[in-house]
Amino acid sequence: MKNMMYAEALNEAIMEEMDFDKSVYYMGEDVRASIYGASNGLYKKFGAERVLDTPLSENGFIGAAVGSSLVGMRPIVETLTSFMWVAMDQLISQAAKMKYMFGGQASLPLTIRAVMYYGGGAAAHHSDRSYPMFMNMPGLKIIIPAFPEDAKGLLKTAVRDNDPCIIFEDGNLAGTRGDVLENSEIDSGELLIPFGKGKIIREGTDCTIVGIAGGNLHAISAAEDLEKEGISVEIIDPRTLVPLDKKIILDSVEKTGRLVVVDPAHKVCSAASEIISMVTEEGFWNFQAPPIKIAAEQVHIPYAPSLEPLIFPDKIKVIEAVRKTME
């Protein structure tokens, strides 16, 4: 085990994958200088041919990544969720639809690293948590790692995967630390975490909390407090939203009879909505209380530090929700 930061784990994944396969290349804005950390050292090691600083043209370079993936390259594109809006045509009209539209002829081994900064006074234009919109579009695999080991293992899997993958990275987690399995500790010699396999972060018997991205951290601290009240919480991190590990969630709710979903994205048509809908359809009779969605309020992200924290899930909201399911 090696203790490392979330951003370091991502960096290690990218390094390993660029070493592993020459068709992997890295592109984005300011990636050579690595202003966000995860591309640190890539330029020095792999050079200008495989580490591309792009103009501010997200639709252009994400489209170029799509086109290159059609002819055998495996691009990793670094961007922020908020800049993906100007590239929606390439992400949706091309990346998501091409394979099906062309009767299966296309393969798009494309990975988008979509970083979500929110909660730090970035205001409405730089605080997007947009994964629910992409879940709504068939053809994209949606990954939401919350811990360093998952960040490394899922990013590596995304790069090896032959379909378009968007890995939504919670910017609030970039500096968080965790233990990551070292390659020497793994039989296959490398950390590849399969998609569609959720993880039980904490076992419990009274209420299931499904944590999405940074929502897991609120769930963990809430669970610790609730334990003191005698409430035993089970936390499930689905780790990928497309595909979604329904079974791990349904099994947990079958055991606890209660469900709270903690999701930093806007609450309408959210990942939380989808998970609650799925459990309602497939596991309704296990509910002992109505499920609760703790997600971002349906309003834009205000700048003022007095307002912004009101929007997002936090420990107190999660504790209150769990207590409510226990009433």
Binding site: G60, F61, A64, S68, S93, K99, Y100, D161, G196
Partner: protein, 326 residues
């Protein structure tokens, strides 16, 4: 000097497109398929001239006016027609339709229903050539309307910045649906914009297949040498409305019959044919013969499309993923 074989190939493919599109119109009129269709009649010299300068290992990407490009690159017209009919035997197993013909086996990376959306994609194929150090080039067809899209401008900047082997072929058929390029393009010619990106821009007679070929051949040669992209504007004209059926709903005129007739007098197939006959490359009889061969193969393509089955419900969820998920 363009070889005799090359000229015959070009004439053949132009006639093939014309006959194919004529059959498409007939089948659409008789209600044999539904869905939007944009025909390439009148513009054949642009795609055929440009594609004649490519190898099979080169890539093309296209747009909603989508039948001419794959045929110009040597695509299979039976699979193309079956796709337009929405049949299982089509290029995309009936899932793409007219606007999404593609043949990855011969470098046709697909047509796009969103204008200019395939321009960045073609730039990406060229980027792959550069990273891999391979000699293939990439070509993208887009219209005068698409030339105003941000995707187009971003792509041209990227390609010129990185010296990518792309040939941007603007098929200026002069109208974005009904809006004249004179009312939508800020400069006299789309090709004028090339200088803004630091690449050569050529205005070419888009009715002259040989002129299109010569301009493209030079652009391809530059691209293969690593000297970067070229923007070629083929000034052309579409004989039909933007899409089949539009005339039925359109309330106002946007061009005169006289203008259409004037352009038809410079028909691209007639121009090439006459030049080849005058230079004794082909005879009238040769042209008649090859037209007959093409007519027959288009009839066979229609028959193939008619008899190919529709995809069954079991195929609805197929082709979503390369690495399937539950």
């Amino acid at each position: 000097m363009i070889s005799k074989e090359k000229q015959v190939l070009m004439l053949t493919r132009m006639i093939r497109i014309r006959l194919f599109e004529t059959a498409v119109i007939e089948c659409h009129k008789s209600g044999e398929f539904i869905g939007g269709v944009h025909t390439y009649i009148g513009e054949e010299a642009v795609a055929v001239g440009a594609c004649a300068a490519l190898n099979d290992s080169d890539y093309i990407a296209g747009n909603h006016r989508s039948h001419g490009h794959p045929i110009a690159k040597g695509g299979d017209i039976s699979k193309a027609m079956a796709e337009i009919f929405g049949k299982e035997g089509g290029y995309c197993k009936g899932k793409g339709g007219s606007m999404h013909l593609a043949d990855f086996s011969i470098g046709i990376l697909g047509e796009s229903g969103i204008v200019a959306s395939s321009v960045p994609v073609a730039v990406g194929a060229a980027l792959a050539a550069k990273i891999k150090g391979e000699k293939f080039v990439s070509m993208v067809f887009f219209g005068d309307g698409a030339s105003n899209q941000g995707a187009c401008h971003e792509s041209m900047n990227l390609a010129a910045l990185w010296d990518l082997p792309v040939i941007f072929v603007c098929e200026n058929n002069q109208f974005a649906v009904t809006t004249s390029y004179k009312d939508s393009v800020s400069v006299d010619h789309v090709s004028d914009r090339a200088s803004a990106y630091g690449m050569p821009g050529l205005l070419v007679d888009g009715q002259d297949a040989l002129a299109m070929f010569e301009a493209t051949e030079e652009a391809v040669s530059r691209a293969r040498k690593g000297e970067g992209p070229t923007l070629i504007e083929g000034l052309t004209y579409r004989y039909e409305d933007h899409s089949l059926g539009l005339a039925a709903v359109r309330r106002g005129a946007y061009r005169t019959e006289a203008e259409v007739e004037k352009w038809k007098k410079r028909d691209p197939i007639d121009l090439l044919k006459e030049k080849m006959i005058s230079q004794k490359i082909v005879s009238d009889a040769d042209v008649e013969r090859l037209t007959e061969v093409e007519r027959k193969s288009v009839e066979e393509a229609v028959e193939f499309a008619r008899t190919s089955p529709f995809p069954g419900p079991e195929q609805l969820f197929e082709d979503m993923w390369t690495d399937p998920i539950d």
